[in-house]
Each structure stands twice: as C-alpha cells, then as structure tokens.
C-alpha cells in the first residue's frame, strides 16, 4: 500500500468543501439536498480511510449506519419537498421563507 492517509483525507476535504459551497450558494432546494449528500459521502470516505489505516473495523461499521440514516433522511426530505411544492409551486429557497417573520 503506497497510498498515504493524507491523499484520501485531501479528496474527502475537497468533496466536503464542494458540498458545503453547494449548500451555501445554490437556491434550488433539490440541489442543496444533493450537496448535503455529497458532504455525507465525504465523511464516509474519511471514516473508511481512517479505519483502513488504523486497522480496525469500527469505521467501516459506522459507514453502515451512516448509509442507513442517509437513506431514511432522503426519503423524509424528499417527501417534505414534494409537500412544499404542492403548496407553493416553487422549490427556490427565497420563496420558502414564511417561517422567517
């Protein structure tokens, strides 16, 4: 194994940054949700890399739980987005600010 832990952590950090800026700068709720998934995947990659280089199983097992929770979260989140779209006919975040005042 010639690869170092740093290279995997670098890719993971890059993916997390991409997802983070997607959440900050995009206006479409669906794209924001996909960027959230990208951040979760960056965390998964870091966990597997740490687990592999530490020589333990625990990181790999945590990835199981993260994938399950992400699947449940996607199901609930998309149901909420569909309900919002039915009421507002829009998926842009500036139209969805009725809780603000």
């Amino acid at each position: 194994m010639t690869l170092s832990l740093n290279s995997f952590l670098f890719v993971s950090g890059l993916l997390f940054a991409i997802g983070f800026f997607g959440v900050l700068l995009r206006r479409n709720v669906l794209v924001i949700f996909m960027s959230l998934e990208m951040m979760l995947n960056a965390a998964i990659l870091a966990l597997i890399a740490f687990s592999r280089f530490n020589g333990t199983m625990d990181g790999n097992l945590f990835v199981f739980f993260i994938i399950t929770v992400a699947a449940a979260e996607i199901a609930v989140g998309l149901a909420i987005i569909v309900a919002l779209f039915r009421k507002r006919q829009s998926v842009m975040v500036e139209q969805l600010s009725s809780l603000k005042n």
């Binding site: 940054a17 997607g22 794209v31 960027s35 597997i48 687990s51 199983m57 625990d58 039915r86 842009m92």
Partner: protein
C-alpha cells in the same frame, strides 16, 4: 496504485463540482451518480469491498433514482438566478479561507500517517489477540461487529427506518378536510 488513485479521485471530484455548478437539476443528478461510482472505486482501493458494493447499490442506485424521480415529478421551469446576498458571500469567503488554511496545514505536515505504531497501539480499539474487531475484509466480519459491539445501534437503526417510513406516509398522504372533501 497511485495512478489508479488519481484517476478515481478525479472521477469523484470533477463530477461533484459539475453537479454544484450545473443549472439543470437532472444533469446535476447524473453527475452525482458518476461521482458516487468514483467514490465506490476509492472504497475498493481502501479494501472496503462490501461498502463499495453498498455504495453503488444504495447511493448510486436507490437514492439517486429517488432523486431523479422527484426532480422529474416536480417539473420545475423556474430559472435559478445565482445572486447570493452579502451575508452568504461573506460566509463563503470566510469558509473558503478556512478550508485553504486547513488543506495547507494538512499538506505541510506529514499528518496522521506519520504517527508511530506504538502510539496507535495505545488506542483502545487497536486489534490484538483478545480484540476480535481488527480489520477484516469478509462480510462475516461486518456481521460479527454489527451483532456484538454495535447491537444497540443496529436495533435503533431498524426503529429509525420504521419511523421514517411512517413519517413519509403521513406527510405525503392526502388530508381530509372537515367537510369530507379531499385537499391536496
């Protein structure tokens, strides 16, 4: 192996970037699928074969198909105006600076890879003769971990799936008004 790592890292990062900047959400979802497959290849490089299969099946398969289904169901025709406000711009600038500093620190040091084995062996989870949780590649090892050390989280995950299923059904079902007529 380094060449493979660079190929798969590019295959993961570039579609992720394209996903964030693409105007059409359908194109974004397609790029996301490519990115997830690239990440599964990175998992194979890390010798987590079962998780690579799961990544393709659950993320690139189930989750992104659900996303595409919802995107096409909603059928939005609004054009997104990318005009971030001042607060968003300031927050983005600060976080970009933080990320650049973090990556510089990471690349400047030899990082965690330089730690000695003796230091790692002091960690409580380091595999030894009486700790069966050392790194193994078979699905049997995953099952052993899930049903011994992580039994309670495993059960809670089952409850979570049930709760989310009930929640989705309640959110998406049509509500009856007091007059008895259906309201969407």
């Amino acid at each position: 192996m380094d060449v493979l790592f660079i190929i798969f890292a590019v295959l993961t990062v570039v579609p992720a970037l394209l996903m964030v900047v693409s105007r059409n959400p359908v194109n974004g979802a397609m790029f996301m699928i490519i990115s997830f497959v690239g990440m599964a290849a990175l998992f194979v490089l890390l010798e987590a074969f079962l998780l690579a299969i799961l990544q393709v099946l659950v993320y690139a398969g189930a989750i992104m198909v659900l996303f595409l289904f919802i995107i096409m169901l909603l059928d939005m025709d609004e054009v997104e105006k990318i005009k971030p406000g001042t607060v968003t711009s300031i927050a983005s600038g600060i976080s970009l600076a933080l990320i650049i500093v973090g990556v510089a620190v990471l690349l400047g040091s030899d990082g965690l890879a330089g730690q000695s084995v003796a230091h790692l062996a002091a960690a409580p989870d380091f595999p030894s003769a009486d700790n069966p949780m050392g790194l193994a590649l078979s699905a049997k090892a995953y099952g052993f971990g899930l049903f011994t050390k992580y039994m309670l989280p495993f059960q809670l995950t089952g409850v979570l799936l049930l709760v989310s299923m009930i929640g989705v059904i309640i959110i998406s079902k049509k509500r009856e008004t007091s007059q008895g007529q259906e309201q969407s």
